[in-house]
Every structure is written in C-alpha cells, then in structure tokens.
Amino acid sequence: MDTPAGQTALFEARDVSKLFGTFAANDKVSLVVQRGEKHALLGENGAGKSTLVKMMYGVMQPTSGRFFWRGQQVTIPKPAAAREMGIGMVFQHFSVFEALNVAENIALALPPQSMRGLSDSIAEVSEAYGLAIDPERAVHTLSVGEKQRVEIIRCLLQSPQLLIMDEPTSVLTPQETQVLFSTLNKLAEDGCAILYISHKLEEVKTLCDTATILRHGKLVAHCDPGKSSAREMAELMVGDNIANLARNGATQPGDARLEITDLTLPAVGDFGTALDRISLEVRAGEIVGIAGIAGEGQPELMDALTGERLAGTPGTIRFDGVPLGRAGPTDRRAAGAAFVPEERNGHAAISDLTLSENVILAHHTAERVAGGGWIDFGKAADWTRRIREAFDVRAGDENPAAGSLSGGNLQKFVVGREILRKPGVLIVSQPTWGVDAGAAAVIRQALIDLARDGAAVLVISQDLEEVFAICDRIAVIYHGTLSPAKPAAEMTAETVGLLMAGGTLAEDAA
C-alpha cells in the first residue's frame, strides 16, 4: 500500500476480514483510497465487494482488521458515524419515499432545518454538479435515474469526502450514465474521492483512475484501468484455474426436450430487466448452463420458464415439443417439467410450513398429492421420507417446519423434491447458492445423474466454477440477451468472463 510521501491516505482498510460462521466473505482485504481519486472496486457477484463497503459504511462490523481515516485509526459502529466522518453511500436499490416530494425525501436524512433553506441548498448542489431536479416534484413521478439523483444529492448535502457508489449504472440508460459520469468527474475534481463498485469493465476503464479487484473474498490485484485491458481485468475477476476442472463425461444428446424461441418480455418495475429474443435448446441427456452476473435477467427468465410469467405465444416455450408458453406452472409440471427457483425461502419453499406441506406446493396436481382437491397427507409424508432418505436431508423432527432446516439441507430438500419426480426437463437456478461443499457435491451429482438418465437440465448459475464443472454447453446472459450456447470444452474462463461483462466472442477473436 504505497502512499505518496507527505500525504496521508484519505481512507485505508488494513487486513480486514469478515467471517459468517466459517465462511470468509472478506479475507484480509486491504484498500487505500486517496483524496479526489476515482477508485473502482471490481469483482464477480459474491466476491465480497458489498461486504467490504458495508463495513466501511458502518452497516456491518469486521471480524478483524483495522480502518484508518486521514491516518487515524477509527471504528465505524453505524452509518451515522460514517456520515459524520464524511463517508456517503448511494445504494444499488435506493430507498426513497414515493409519496413525498424531492425536498421532503432529502430532509428526512438530514438534521432538522427549514424547508425553504433546504430547497435553496438542493438547487445549489444540483446546479453545481449538473444534477437537474425540481425539489418540489413528487418522487413517484421521477424516472429511475432521477431517483438516483435524489440519493446522490442527499449524500452531497452532507459534504462527504468519500462517496461510495454501489453499481450505480445497473439501473441507468446510457444517456443517464453519461450525466452521472460527468457529475462524478466534477466531484473528484473538487477533491471528493469516489469508490465505484462495478463489474462493468468498460465503464471502469472510462471513469476510474485505479482499481482494486476481489475474488472469493480475497484481494487479487490492484491495477490501472487505463492501462490494463478489459480482458486482463476479466481474467483477474473470474480467475484462471476454473477451466481445469473435470467436466461431465461426453454424452450423446438426444432430441430437444426444452425449446425456447425468441422469448421477449418487458421489464417489470424500476429494477427489472427486459428479456430480449432469448432462444435456447436443451436436449435429452445434456446439462446446459446459463452464466451471468446477477441482475442481467436471470429471475425474469426463470419466471418465464416456470410459467409464473406467461410468454407472448404458446410456441415460445416448448416442453417435449408441446407449446406451453401461455400455460401456468401446474400445466408445465404435468407435461414433465420441474423447477427449482433461486430463492429457497418464500419462493421454492415456505419456512412456516412443514416439509410435507412444502411437498404439496410442487406436487399437488402433477403427482396427485392433492388429486381431486383433497390433500393426501399420507402421500405427502411418503414423499418427504423418500426425499430425506435419497438426499440425506437432516433435521430434528420427522416433519419439521422448513424454516428450521439449515440452508444446505433445505436446498437438498427442494432439489430432491423435483429430481425424485424424474422430470423430463429440470430447470434450476443457483442450485448450490449458499450451501456447504458437501451439499453442493450431492446436488451437482444428482443433476448429472438426472441428465444421464435422459432428462434435459438447464442450470442458471452465477457460479462459474459450477457451470464449468457440470455443464455440457454454456450460454451467457447479459442485459436480458443470451449468447449462443457453446460446448463447454470450447469455452474458457476468459471468454465467459468477457461475455459476462458485456463483450462479444467476435471481439475476443479479433
């Protein structure tokens, strides 16, 4: 950590670690931010970027390590303390009160003062930094970019010396991004340091002076984004060891069991992603992986595949050739499809219900656990027993509430619930998210075995190691579009990393 002679760093984190149980979200991470610097914090989803900045902003406390502010060692017990010191943060999913106007929203975050004076300072700041906004406007009438301006102004009125921006452009249009960048440049010229969290390499190259790259909670490199290529940074982000992992043995794929043709869906809400002409075929006996960074359209794609959102025409999605794009989840299950969504609690399972009741959730009609409208509790208990045996789901009682299981055991349960049906098509999102290595191995093996038995398996995962470990073909989702699925043997960590960051294979070949 070199600090130019005669100048103390504005902020420094020294050997900061954060443990969740035995899992190290941050492992001895160090970071130095200078005055007026535009510093990028790069890393894949789950690399530990958010954990680090949450500790810097006082939302979480480090397990070990030290923070320095202008050379003085500090503890940051809560966000208020961070703001008092001069650290401001704009969150990715910002929190504004839709029913209030701009000035009222800003007033809520500041010490009590007259609304007239506040409106004047808002006008002043928005003038100075090109953040055009009318203090009197109701927030619910603002665009996403304008809401973000409200958040930025809220931070700037507290005169921060370090402004943390958590993936600010993920919700912006290219034009709005340009405006944001000129604001950030102006701020940096005035001496405010910017810590810019992103995985968009081109943006980082445009905006930032220096970059710190995290991978699996560890610091892997400092670099100058102006000098390093996007490709080099992508390699540092995703690592270079993953292409060496053993893959599923060669299989002879059969007929297409899942066909997606030109699936297009508009975005829902401020933070949604639109799906743009997604096409993919998954054949009997193969596992196809969809890689991608969080928020590029995976939840939307999953909802369209389960039938929670309907596609434009029936022919858009076919299971074993049957057009079911306009059919709900129950009809799709009856046609032999099975689904494991990403979120265990509240989506794939309900924590207040027992395991047996959670069996009914998916099997009520397709497996006739509630055929004819009456629930067959014996059948549900039988399923529960079989799932627990086959997947070694450990829990205290015979039929406990789903919420009492550990994350790994509940995930084995929801995966097992679908696999034991012997579905023709299994679509699973983040199959091993947040589960321990043992459970992950069981789940991955089960997916491979299912495909060997002739099912078509589609895995949507942000875990590149996993995608390379189990998938026969890989496609990448970016901004709601899907790259063509290529055999995993032809893909490398860097090609996938580039696609994930918005590049194209043609560019890579050039």
Binding site: R83, E343, H347, A349, I350, L361, H364, G373, W374
Partner: protein, 371 residues
Amino acid sequence: MILLEPREQPSRLLAVLSPVVAIGLMLFAGGIMLAAMGQPPLQALYVYFFQPVHELWFYLVRPEERAMWIYTPSEVLVKAIPLALIGAGLTICFRANVWNIGAAGQYTLGAIFGGAAALYGPEGSPWLTLPLYLAAGAFGGLLWAAIPAFLRTRFNANEILVSLMLTYVATLLLDWLVRGPWKSPTSFGFPVSADFTDSYLLPVLVQGTRLHLGLILAIVIAVALAVMMARTLRGFRVRVIGAAPRAGAFAGFSQSGTIWFVLLLSGGLAGLAGAIEVSATIGKLQPEISASYGFTAIIVAFLGRLNPAGALLGALILAISYIGGENAQILLKLPKNVTGIFQGMLLFFLLACDTLIRYRIRWTSAAAGAA
C-alpha cells in the same frame, strides 16, 4: 426510538394462551376504567362478564331449574350466531392476508337482498322460500364484497379502505330504502318496511326463546370451513398465498383468484348473517339492524386464532360481553358504549400480545435514532 426485534424462540405456549392473557388484561384495564366511572370495579366486572357465565353454569348444572335460567344461554347463542358466521368467513380472508374490514356493509347488503326476497318474493312452503331468502342474502353480501375484490385485483386498490367505505354506502342505502320505496304504508311514518310474512321467518329451535335455525347453519358452516382449510387444496392455496405470494405463484396458485375467493366467501357469509339476523330477530327491515356485528367479528376472527372453528368460541366470548353490556345497562345504568370499549380493548390487547410474543421491544437512545 423504539425498535421491535424478532425473538429467536417465541414461546409456543404463550402463542396458544395469548387470547387468555388478552382477556385478563382487558378485565384489568376495564376494572380501572369502571372504577374511574365511579363503579366498584369487581362488582361491575361481575355483572359484565361473570354473571352471564354464572347463569350459563346454573343452566348446565341444574336441569330441574333450566326453564328459569334459559334466557341468558339462549340470548348468548342468538348473539353468537351472526358473529360466528361473519367471523368464520373473516378468518379465511385474513389467512390469505386480505383484509376485509367491511363485513358490516356486506351484512347490510345481505339484509337488503334478503329483504327484497321477503317483501317481493313468492309465498309458499318455508322449504322453498327460506332457501331463496338465505341465498338472496348471501348473494347480496357477495356482490358487495365483489367491489373491493375487483378494485384490488384490477387496480391494486387497498381492500381495507374500499370495503370499509362501502359500509357507509350500505348503511345509507338501507336507510333510503326503508324511508323511501320500501317504507311500510302502515308504519305511522316510522322508517320500517312491512313485516316479513311467516314464509320468510327463520324457525325457532327452542320454544320460549329466540334461539333459531341459524345456530345449526353457523356450526355446520364453521366446521366445514375448518375442514376446508385443513384438508383441501383450496384451503392450502389460501394459506400459501397468505404466507408467501411468490411461493404461491411457484405452486401455480393464482393470487387474484384467491383474493376473489376469500372476499366473495367472507362477503357471502356476512350477507347470510345479515339476512338471518333480520329474519330471526327483527322480522322486517329498519335502519338499525346491528350491522356493527361486522366489526365485532374482526375481534372474533383474531380471538379464534384465525381458525374457522375457533371463531365459534370467539363468537361465544364476544356474545357474552354483549349480554353483560345489556345487564350493565339495566343494573348499573352504564352506557351501552362501554361494551364497545371492552371489545376494542380486547382486540388491542390481543394484537399486542401476539406481537410481543413474537417480538421484543428495545429502546434506543434518541440521538442514535435521529442520526
């Protein structure tokens, strides 16, 4: 600043006993209130809550004196019938996380539709006219509940506000009908309809009392609904949508379909209760038909732990407080509103107990809160 933190291990025993604790707290706070009104608190509480129970007890243990003690038990049951019918429907609505606060309006519409059948329908065998009458009442309540259901599923309008405001519309509609087109020509100017004919009066079950056929209907319906919730896919659907709408979507259950179902069901039952009450205890339409049962039934639903069968028990407890209130009016000259205060306190304490069993309160310094 006050923070509510989830408790790691909420006590299961307390969760079951919550209504008992709430009743205890209501008696305690009510005692203080009665003392402030210049009443000896214990004696007044006896009149309110224990005298009806006492008389019930005499009825049960002294078979030879039953004729003497039958008034209180029968009147408690008469009051409990509409409360149980409405309350049972509301438990299902609330389980789906749909907040129908306008049962009073649906009750009134049930009375109006039933009244229309009674005033303009055919005469004949009660086997024909009573089903027609009850169906008309249920349909009226269902129709009134369809308005919040439509507005909620179509425009995401808040069903609490819509159903509540429709209550006032319903009251005014009834008022207009009995003062205008449906006013009896022989009422000497009073705002009442013509008396219902015998074909439209619910038969009394026990001679010498007002206890009527509605009792059997209420028990059968509450038990049937309890079975539906516990044993059928339809009931499961309601519970899932209430607990986690996204998991409901994953299961292929329609959220808007469930909202329609629970609102129409609870509205239909409130309408049925209105029709039954008017036919069994009034015999004609008039501006005041005890529509406030629709609000009291909210307490019944919570007291019954949001279980339709539990609502039967909750209805009994609330009915006792009504009878106690009548006793207190006569014996202690206390205003009728005191009953409403007791019922309000009961709901307040019940919700507070349910919350504090699951959460603990933490006080933080004002400085930390403001920053």
